[in-house]
Each structure stands twice: as structure tokens, then as C-alpha cells.
Amino acid sequence: MKQHLRTAWKHTRRSPYQSLAAVLIMFLTFFIATIFTLAAGGSQIVLRYFESRPQVTAFFKDEISTQQIDMLKAKLVQTEKVEETKFISKEEALAIYREQNKDEPLLLEMVTANILPASLEVSIKNITDIDQVAGIMKNDSIVEEVVFQEDVVEALYRWTGSIRKIGIGLISVLSFVSFLIILVIIGMKITIRKSEIEILQLIGASNAYIRAPFVLEGIIYGVSGAVVAWGLSYILLLYATPFIIKFLVGIPVLPVPYYFMLIVLGIEMLAGLIIGSLGSLIAVRRYLK
């Protein structure tokens, strides 16, 4: 193993531009993969955050009884589409209003609990059921008005889906290109070392012995490209963290847990190993045939 690694490293050093091209394409693939993984993961957290907030709020008419509210709650729970309901009384609504406007004494003076409506905040299990749940609430006679944030969540859904699709598409194409480039570069190196391979075959080297340094060389390209791409993405993420936190106030997207980044590194190293070894394996197989 040690001697094969030494030979692979020698091959890598002796044609630096080919090696650089191979590492760069692997780097590009994994850099984009990391960025899209982080973006997809982040948007998923944002989406979950919005999903976990009450998405539908029903404001009640005045003079309604607790019994009527409980009946509406029961009707909603029966649909099995509701995660959670929370009743906000007129007094609680006033407290929230006061908290939100504590710096505006004029606004506070004019408002009493009587003019604020009681409400019911509803979280839905699956956002696609929002229309149905809102409809039940609207049709109830005790409800004055129903407000829901369908647009925000739907837009977020679309975005998350698009990020995922574009990411998967781009990573697939780049992985295939990386694989082809490794295949071509290793193929060129085999052609250069044709006589060396012939000599090794004549003195009894097995195909596995001849193949090993080339496969290791492919692995060196794949794994080093993955590690460099991961490292650079992580540095960029750490640099951008304060700006992102400021932009997404209150949404717990950052900091990205270090174990998540380590998992990403592990997966990318494995993918680099597979792409690199497979590319070189096919190149050597074609020659040794």
C-alpha cells in the first residue's frame, strides 16, 4: 500500500497541470455541493420555523361564550389537520399590544381591552391544508375575520423545492463532468506510462498491482478536491454568519452545528473517493483489456 501511495504521489507531482485540473474540477463540484447543501438545509429550517408558527388566526366577534370557542376548537381538532390551537383573550391581546407598542405612549392611551378582539391562533400539520382549515373557521358564525400567511409559506415551499432541484441537477452534472475528467486525465497518464506498464506485466505484476497507483491517484484528486472545497465553504460560512443572522432575525438558522459540517465533510470525502476511484478504475480497465 505504502509503495503504491508513493508511486501515486510521484505520478501526481510529475504532471502538475493535469493534477491541478483534476483537483480543481473536483473542488468546483464539491464547493457547489456544499453551498447548495447549506442553502437547502437553511431554507428547510426557515420553512419549518414558519410552519411551526400559527399560520391561521381567527378573530372573534364580541360577546361570545367559551362554549362556542371550545366547539370551534373541537371542530378543528376533528379534522386531524391541526397541530395546535391557542386562544388569546381580549386581555391577553391588550398585553401583547402593549408590549409591541411600549415605546408609543400615545397609542397605549387610546386602546382598551374592549376594542381588541379575542382570537384563536392555529398551527397546521401540513401547510397544504391551510385553505380547508381557514374555510372551517370562516364559516363559523362566531368568527369575524380570518387572517393567514399562506403566501409566505407557499413562496418558501417553492424556494426550497427550487433550491433542491437546481442543487441536485447541478451537482449531478458536475459529478459526471468530474468523473469524465478523471477518466481522461488518468487515461492520458496511462498512455504516457504505457511502456512502464508493459514492463511490469512482463515481470509478473498482477493487474491489481498495476491498477493500484492509478486508482489511488484518482482518490487523491477526489478527496483533496472535496476537503479543499469543504474548508473554503466553511470559512465563507463563518465569515457570512453575522450578516445572515442580522438578515434572518429570530430564525434559528445559525450557527450551523459543527457535527453537521463534519457529516458533510465525511459524505463529500466519500463521494470524492468514489468518483476518483471509479474514474481511474474504468480508465485502467480499458487499457489493461
Partner: protein, 226 residues
């Protein structure tokens, strides 16, 4: 140990070897002579299992080469030492590394490799040039390196295809002395050559080929130039 039985080798319509039969026993030194195109290299390549006979059988150490599967060829070749006219050395490796590679293929221990390579380089007189690259060596030194690589694994059979072809007679004699020493340890040496001086001086078994046919096989043969 090496047996050719009615071996014919054709390349298309061209006949390279024509119904050749002979046997070589353990410890023999055999010259295969003949002019260019006589079939010497084809014979060597048949033993190397680079070619397969069109007809007949080639048996080496009770292995019928016709039945040898592709994946068994490396193991078969490990049992034979080869010396080539064009040396076939790895140009980016030192003398030591070129010789050691034959043992590395066998997955020998590093300490054993070092010890055996040193011993063989001493035998062929290249101990002081072990760190030289092939481009820094003379023709005789290159051939001695090639010879050291062939014998370092201690094979029972050494095959040489025109090993003195690129060397002057003085250097060729030195190389032949080493071959002689190797043969004295009980190993078979099969040498294809058209160097008549060497053949006549050595007075060993001579198999003569002409247009692919075996025309003579003498125990203490001579190379007569017509």
C-alpha cells in the same frame, strides 16, 4: 522442465515457428540461434506466454501454457526471469529500485528486499551504482541491471532475448560470465542470440532455427557462419 511439442505459430498466413519440438532439463544452458526472422523471438515469447501456439503444446514446469488462464499469467511469469536486448528498465527509477520492483511485486518484506537486492547487485558488480538512474549507465551496466532484476527473485528459469545484442564483445563476455555463474547454481538458461563468438566460446547446447524450423539440436553445439 521446458517442453515444446510439435509447436507451430502462425501470424495470419506467415509461419513463424513450424512444428518445433524439444525438451530442456533442469540446469541446462541452451542457446537458440538463427538469423533474423528465424523464429528465435517467437520461441522466447511463447515461453513468456506473450503468444499462444497455433498448434502443439508448450509446457513449462508441468504447466501447459495453453491452459493457463489470463489471471494466472502474472503468477506464472514470477517464476521466470527475463533479460531483454532493449533492457526494459523503468527510466524514472534507480538501479536499486529497478531490481527491487521484482521483489515488491512478490510482496516481500522491506528488509528482505534490501538484503537480496544488495547481494545481487554485488554479484553483478553494480553495488556502487545502485542509486544511479538508467540514463546514467553504460550498455553493459544496463544489461547487468536487467540481469540482476531477472535473478533477484531466484527463478528456476532465466530467458534472455539477445542480451548481448547492443554490447561490444568485451562487455558481452562479462555478461556471459554472470549467466554462467547463474547456470552453475542449477538454473535453466535459455538464450536467443546470433552472437556466434559467444556461442562458440561457451560450448553449450545449441538449438538452431531456420525459417521457423528446428534444423539442429546439439549438446555441445557451434554457431557456423555460412
Amino acid at each position: 522442465m521446458v517442453k515444446f511439442k510439435n509447436v507451430t505459430k502462425k501470424f495470419g498466413e506467415e509461419i513463424a515457428l513450424d512444428n518445433v519440438s524439444f525438451e530442456i532439463e533442469k540446469g541446462e544452458f541452451v542457446f537458440v540461434i538463427g538469423c533474423s526472422g528465424a523464429g528465435k523471438s517467437t520461441l522466447v515469447k511463447l515461453i513468456l506466454r506473450e503468444y499462444l501456439p497455433t498448434e502443439g503444446t508448450v509446457t513449462v514446469d508441468s504447466t501447459d501454457l495453453l491452459n493457463l488462464r489470463k489471471k494466472e499469467i502474472p503468477d506464472y511469469r514470477k517464476k521466470i526471469g527475463f533479460v531483454f536486448q532493449d533492457f526494459k528498465l523503468l527510466t524514472d527509477r534507480t538501479v536499486f529500485e529497478n531490481v527491487a520492483i521484482a521483489l515488491r511485486i512478490l510482496d516481500e518484506k522491506k528488509e528482505d528486499i534490501n538484503e537480496r537486492v544488495e547481494t545481487i547487485l554485488d554479484l553483478v558488480g553494480l553495488k556502487d551504482k545502485k542509486d544511479f538512474f538508467p540514463s546514467q549507465l553504460s550498455g553493459g551496466e544496463l544489461q547487468r541491471t536487467c540481469l540482476a532484476r531477472a535473478v533477484v527473485t531466484d527463478p528456476d528459469i532465466i530467458i534472455a532475448d539477445e542480451p548481448t545484442g547492443n554490447l561490444d564483445i568485451g562487455i558481452a563476455r562479462q555478461i556471459m560470465d554472470i549467466f554462467k555463474k547463474i547456470n552453475e547454481t542449477g538454473k535453466i538458461v535459455i538464450m536467443a542470440t546470433h552472437n556466434f563468438e559467444i556461442v562458440n566460446e561457451m560450448s553449450k547446447r545449441v538449438i538452431e532455427l531456420e525459417n521457423g524450423k528446428l534444423i539442429s539440436d546439439k549438446k555441445k553445439g557451434k554457431y557456423h557462419i555460412s
